[in-house]
């Protein structure tokens, strides 16, 4: 679906989050010189069209008790990777599942899954289950647990110069 320049300005304006005021969409609309109904209609359209994959609270998983965060990677033959990706995505404990390019010789893996869990043992068992049930164990694979989080925030795709500063009443 098409995304026009105003849609982009709107997405840029809310990248740092919807303001915590009674009429947040009206506040965003004022900053952009739009009206509230237009902002709401655009967000509904972007949501319905799948440009916005979800709209709502973005939480920090670590603070919610998800202390074990593993990236599991496999080297799956190209002809099978789409099928396998769809199979792995169906597990409820797989939070993200993506195909990415190999970078040989040092990085031979092309299928990536994120598994976030409450503790490391549980996550290891879940990945073992993927390997066993999907006969992945014979393929080259690795598990990369996260250790330190240096930075975590939302993506900023837009140049802030396009949007007036917020905080002006």
């Amino acid at each position: 679906m098409p995304v026009d320049a105003t849609d982009r300005r709107l997405l840029a304006a809310i990248e740092d989050g919807l303001p915590l005021v009674p009429q947040p969409y009206a506040a965003v609309a004022r900053r952009l010189g739009l009206d509230e109904a237009d902002v709401l209609a655009r967000l509904r359209r972007l949501r319905a069209g799948g440009i916005i994959s979800r709209f709502g609270l973005v939480v920090r998983h670590h603070e919610l008790g998800y202390r074990a965060n593993a990236m599991a990677v496999w080297n799956v033959p190209d002809a099978q990777v789409d099928d396998m990706g769809r199979r792995l995505a169906a597990y409820d404990f797989v939070t993200l599942c993506y195909r990415r390019p190999r970078r040989l010789p040092n990085w031979p893996f092309n299928l990536f899954c994120m598994v976030h869990g409450c503790d490391r043992d549980t996550v290891c068992e879940q990945i073992a289950r993927l390997n066993a049930e999907q006969t992945l164990a014979s393929l080259p694979h690795e598990v990369l647990f996260s250790r330190r989080r240096f930075k975590q925030r939302g993506a900023r795709y837009f140049m802030k110069t396009d949007v007036p500063a917020r905080g002006v009443a």
């Binding site: 995304v3 979800r54 939480v59 008790g65 792995l88 390019p101 040092n106 989080r149 930075k151 795709y157």
Partner: protein
């Protein structure tokens, strides 16, 4: 975490009300007043549990992004990680248990800007940067169920 916080955090990750007074709608659903909802959300944000309320954009629809990895010698990791985090285009930046021990996401308006950031990090650190852009998404970010003890 009390029951109100649990419901706020768990129930509004995907379909936050798109209507003029969303916090009043949530208040109605949770049996609170609008100002209490606003205060609770502000508190969750101040404590770091809530990052923001907003849109998660499907990858490769607006803007460009990539996942990048570096193998950083242990004694340089903190300095290199700080340099990477200081780039405005970097949003997530994690240490992972692997020879490739630094993993970060770069997002910008277009592919040229993403590449420029990767090149600048490689040049400043003298270390190669793996560029691992998303080719196919089999499962995208749908939020988190609150289930840890």
């Amino acid at each position: 975490m009390d029951q109100v916080e649990h419901r706020l955090l768990n129930d509004y990750q995907r379909d936050f009300p798109l209507e003029p007074r969303p916090y009043a709608r949530i208040a109605d659903e949770l049996g609170l007043c609008e100002d209490e909802v606003l205060a609770r959300l502000a508190d969750l944000q101040a404590r770091g549990t809530l990052s923001r309320i907003g849109a998660v954009v499907r990858p490769n629809t607006v803007g460009a992004s990539t996942l990048a990895a570096m193998a950083v010698p242990a004694e340089r990791l903190e300095v290199v990680a700080a340099l990477v985090s200081a780039q405005p285009e970097v949003n997530h930046n994690y240490e992972r248990e692997h020879a490739f021990n630094l993993w970060f996401v770069v997002a910008a308006a277009d592919q040229t800007a993403v590449q420029a950031t990767l090149e600048s990090i490689a040049a400043e650190t003298g270390l190669p940067v793996l560029d691992l852009p998303l080719q196919t998404a089999y499962h995208i970010d749908l939020g988190f169920d609150l289930q840890c003890p």
